[in-house]
């Protein structure tokens, strides 16, 4: 597959792995957070960790839209779908996310709610056009990558005068979440040495919004593509910055990301959305100015207004470590539920649901390493 295979070339990977091995300082550890679930998925699916030296540790970040959506908002969506007038359109990933009291969209659908899985906002728009008697609500989630398409769909709905289409907006912002992670960092042992920066998000917002990471927190960021070679090269670039005592915002993903990003997309977002005062993130809690709502000019398409949605915060399962895992403070295997009570078939927390979630990625791709480790420990004792 042209333009894809090149970024998964095993020979090139061996070369980068050898360079990393040669350049790491064996006297120290390197703790990097890959911010995005896309990176987590690539690292797990291609076995990138097997190709890194032992003192380079990858911490999974919060960049998984499904994972950070708090329980209260899923509860809202389920309540919304229970309205017999409503057709709720959503991405398939969200269907199995556990809500309060063991509910989920999948169960709500089985109980008779009209919930349809779509691939894009435009699919939802088409359903609204084809079925004017239904109140079609698009459950919008995601970072800046998926926000411009939602903006376009809302503008199209307005142009077409579609009265039966609205958006339940849960779009969140990346740089502010990154700041929340860095501000909330714990002791020396869990401190990050650098960040593998978002790929698709950065195509929209550019490299500029991450500058505070270097100026305020003295840490390097390397914006990285989602292919395994991209990730490895970005890790090498981070190691080099640290070894040279630098902290800069560097861009590995030059084939798609510019310094200023996609200005047209930014303009659409600015026009259609406005900043929320505050928004709850699973794992990070309430984060001020971290999410978007529909701007006043598009209030007619705001499902929260149309259906008078008032989110009630709901607690995660107390044993679930998704919060700490999303902050990078714990690993999936640190959670007592992982692999026992919480599996992809019976997820207790959101990180086990989306394929971009750290728990799901580790469960689906990486568990054999736990066994190997257990064996090594058994053999040693």
């Amino acid at each position: 597959m042209k333009y894809v295979d090149e970024y998964r070339d095993p020979e090139l990977a061996k070369g980068v792995a050898a360079t990393i091995a040669a350049e790491v300082d064996p006297g120290r550890n390197y703790r990097f957070m890959e911010f995005c679930g896309g990176h987590t998925h690539a690292i797990s699916r291609y076995g990138v960790e097997d190709m890194l030296p032992r003192n380079v540790e990858m911490i999974h970040g919060p960049g998984c839209p499904v994972c950070v959506l708090p329980v209260g908002r899923i509860d809202d969506a389920i309540r919304l779908a229970a309205d017999p007038r409503v057709t709720l359109c959503t991405y398939a990933d969200l269907m199995r996310v556990p809500a309060s009291r063991g509910a989920s969209l999948l169960k709500a659908r089985a109980a008779g709610a009209d919930i349809r899985m779509v691939y894009s906002t435009l699919d939802a728009l088409r359903i609204a056009e084809a079925e004017p008697e239904r109140e079609v609500v698009f459950l919008a989630i995601g970072f800046e990558t998926t926000t411009p398409p939602t903006a376009l769909a809302i503008k199209q709905a307005k142009q077409k005068g579609l009265r039966n289409f609205s958006v339940f907006c849960n779009h969140v912002l990346t740089p502010i979440a990154m700041r929340a992670i860095l501000t909330g960092e714990g002791d020396e042992a869990t401190r990050l040495d650098g960040i593998v920066g978002p790929a698709h998000v950065s195509t929209v917002i550019g490299a500029r919004p991450y500058e505070f990471v270097a100026s305020d927190y003295r840490k390097p960021v390397v914006i990285s593509g989602f292919e395994p070679l991209d990730v490895m090269q970005s890790i090498l670039m981070l190691i080099r910055q640290i070894n040279e005592g630098r902290c800069a915002i560097e861009n590995q993903y030059v084939r798609a990301v510019t310094h200023d990003g996609n200005l047209r997309a930014q303009k659409e977002m600015d026009e259609v959305f406005a900043l929320r005062e505050s928004f709850e993130w699973r794992g990070l809690g309430l984060v001020p100015r971290s999410a978007l709502r529909l701007a006043e000019a598009f209030a007619d398409f705001d499902a929260e207004k149309r259906f008078d949605i008032r989110t009630v915060a709901a607690a995660d399962n107390p044993a679930c470590e998704c919060g700490a895992i999303l902050r990078g403070a714990k690993k999936p295997t640190d959670c007592k539920l992982f692999g026992a009570l919480c599996t992809p078939e019976t997820p207790m927390g959101s990180c086990m649901v989306s394929s971009e979630g750290s728990c799901a990625a580790h469960y689906a791709y990486g568990r054999f390493r736990d066994r190997s480790r257990a064996r090594i420990e058994r053999a040693a004792s």
């Binding site: 095993p10 699916r45 291609y46 076995g47 190709m51 395994p228 078939e345 394929s355 054999f368 390493r369």
Partner: protein, 350 residues
């Protein structure tokens, strides 16, 4: 599917006509539907007797029996339709035991309003598939349900086959050291279906691999004999599900090399685009076989000599593993598990 009543004189309107509730009522309309569509398409001595059952000669060896329901959407897809699929799928379930498929039955649940022309096309396709495979459809049933209670047509087929004495393949027979082979590229059927789903607007030149595999399995049994331990057609859940099931049933693990698993470039591209993994996508004309290591070369040669196994490949081995993991060396050079598919990757694929 009996036909004791004299059919009504006027012909079925194959151009504009639709199935209505009278076609399932047991009256003349039903008799005409059965005669003009099903008997016409499946024609054989058993059906011509117009009995409610088929009496078959007792067979030497052991009988193998299977049944399968088909609800694929859309009904027609590149490389096949629900009719041919319902013949191939059931034949393959019998063939995977190493048995020779002999007879099929077919049962139809048809939604009121379904176009007679489409029903005719589906029946003809079933008849063609059954004749090409040499496995006749000897008995059947038709029901019509009200509009909205089904989706066009659902088909159930059952099959009977014969297993020669001495041969016993089963999913609990994989042993550490055994070789794992597949007969060709993975994911073709699932992607062909997806390319025709209405809410997906991409056109991929890819055909379903839907095919009857009993010729291939006969050649494999001939080449490897009782060194053949397990055969499985990786349908729903793809190769990943098949490997995980066998890992559990045999209480073993697998090591697989990703680069040895053939995937067509179009299928890989479509999967990339949709965020799917070809290892989890359904196949309807491929099989996976596990055999004693010393028989692997002969088996691979026999597979490659058959038109449906030309791209056969050795993809890995059975290993001892109490956790029953399927481990894979990625093309990239790292390691990962190939886990069970969780949730529904794509409903109504077969």
């Amino acid at each position: 599917m009996s036909l004791v009543m004299k059919p009504v004189r006027r012909k079925l309107d194959m151009r504009e006509g639709r199935v209505d509730l009278s076609h399932g009522s047991g009256g003349r309309a039903m008799a005409q539907l059965i005669a003009d569509i099903f008997h016409d398409a499946f024609d054989n001595d058993w059906l011509r007797r117009n009995d409610d059952q088929a009496s078959l000669d007792a067979q030497e060896g052991r009988l193998v029996m299977t049944t399968d329901g088909y609800v694929v959407s859309p009904l027609f897809f590149p490389g096949g339709d629900i009719g041919s699929l319902s013949v191939h799928g059931t034949i393959n379930d019998i063939a995977m035991a190493g048995a020779t498929p002999k007879y099929l039955s077919a049962s139809f649940i048809i939604e009121e309003g379904f176009a007679l022309l489409d029903l005719k096309r589906i029946a003809q396709s079933m008849g063609d598939a059954s004749r090409a495979a040499g496995v006749p459809i000897v008995t059947g049933d038709t029901k019509v349900v009200e509009r909205g209670k089904a989706d066009g047509v659902f088909i159930s087929t059952a099959g009977v086959g014969v297993l020669p004495d001495g041969l016993s393949l089963s999913s609990d027979k994989a042993r550490p050291g055994d070789a794992v082979l597949i007969s060709g590229s993975m994911g073709d059927h699932g992607v062909a279906i997806m390319s025709r789903r209405e809410n997906l607007e991409f056109s991929v030149e890819i055909m379903s691999d839907s095919a009857a595999l009993h010729g291939l399995t006969a050649a494999m049994v001939g080449a490897a004999g009782d060194a053949l331990r397990v055969m499985r057609d990786p349908t729903r859940g793809g190769l990943a599900a098949a490997l995980n099931e066998i890992a559990h049933q045999s209480n073993v693990g697998f090591t697989i090399a990703e680069e040895s698993v053939p995937v067509k470039p179009q299928v890989a591209a479509a999967c990339e685009f949709l965020g799917l993994d070809p290892l989890y996508v359904a196949n309807e004309g491929k099989l996976m076989a596990i055999c004693a290591p010393e028989a692997a070369d002969a088996l691979l040669d026999a597979m490659r000599a058959h038109p449906l196994g030309r791209e056969a490949a050795l993809i890995g081995h059975v290993v001892e593993d109490e956790r029953n993991f399927v481990e894979m060396t990625t093309r990239f050079g790292g390691g990962r598990i190939v886990d069970w598919l969780s949730g529904e990757q794509l409903p109504r694929i077969c």
